[in-house]
Amino acid sequence: MGAQQREYKKRIGSAQGMKKIFKAKEMVAASRIAKAHARVLATTPYADAITRAIGAVATHSGDVAHPFLDQERSSSGRAGIVLITADRGMTGSYSHNVIRAAEELANALQEEGKTPVLYVVGRKGETYYRFRNRPPHEAWAPYHEGELPELGHEIAQRVTADLLSEDPETHLDELYLVGTRFKTRFQQVARATRLVPIEVVDADEDHGTARPTYPLYEFTPDAEQVMDELMPRYLESKLVNILLQSMASEHAATQRAMKTATDNAETQVKKFTRLANSARQAEITQEITEIVGGADALSGSGRKER
């Protein structure tokens, strides 16, 4: 066997090995998407309940004042950005997309004269900022998939403390969330949303459109305390929800990336098989030519026997 053929065989072998790994990763990710998505759906009733409750308090007690509702929060000029990225690689453009969205947001905030403050979840985001010599204000990495609700709770407590802080060094005027929304298994969108100040759907603004009407609630102990209890929970439920959605999106992105990698490995195998075949054919052709040439040379010399 020729050297060239051996080289091609080696390449085919390694491509086949990689293909197996990619395929396995793809299948693992595919099985995790459904589980992660189910966890997102499991949080929906709670999120709905809390959103409804806040809507009810806001519409029925006209003068609720909560620091998170204040539209004119501008004391320190600091705007918090919670960025959710992946811990691992092999997720295609997943982390890249959210980081880009966060950078765009940070630039927009800077143009408005605000100072972006980063709270990063995931190793990919952390290393991105550390490498560029702008370490994030706070980073949670690495994290575990099973502990996302606890992580959400921790982050919520941290940002709530900063939002309510009196110290101008740590106080945040606004809070943005940058994560990936899981729409379907094939479509995920990296998006930045403002979380604080919360825009309460004002009853006076759109009378014409259909909006839920809330009953006249009796508040126990009173509307203000109810609001104080609900707000941090609302923030937390939003955070947990986006964390879970991002996790599901990460798995979907991994699956897609690994599918592409598997396809690529297959193309490689095919290409090298072709090359190996033609190399073998060339070798055979050459051998035949040599034999025929040798025989011709012998017969031309006039000798009868060998």
Binding site: T43, P45, A49, A53, A56, Y217, T220, V226, R233
Partner: protein, 91 residues
């Protein structure tokens, strides 16, 4: 006979849902019983026990720590941070 449509959720799952005849929750200013046709109420919950009497008379109890309950036209939504079984032998 009217009954209560109860949804009992924690931040990451639904603990109990169905129709009940009576619900007792640990409101911030004392234990609060909820019966059908109660006026719409939104209450903050303290640490304590949520007790749900379903229509067949069975009682479900969960230990909770903080949350809120909303009652509106016999629709009861209990949302809490954590819910634990009171007695592991139960069920």
């Amino acid at each position: 006979m009217s009954s209560l449509a109860v949804t009992f959720v924690t931040s990451d799952r639904t603990v109990w849902s169905g129709s009940a005849s009576q619900v007792v929750v640990p409101a911030a200013d004392g234990s609060m019983g909820i019966l059908p046709r109660m006026q719409p109420t939104l209450a903050i919950l303290d640490r304590g026990v949520v007790r749900i009497h379903d229509e067949s008379g069975q009682v479900t109890e969960r230990e909770v720590a903080g949350g809120f309950v909303s009652v509106d036209a016999d629709v009861v939504t209990i949302a809490v941070d954590r819910a634990a079984r009171r007695d592991p032998a139960e069920r």
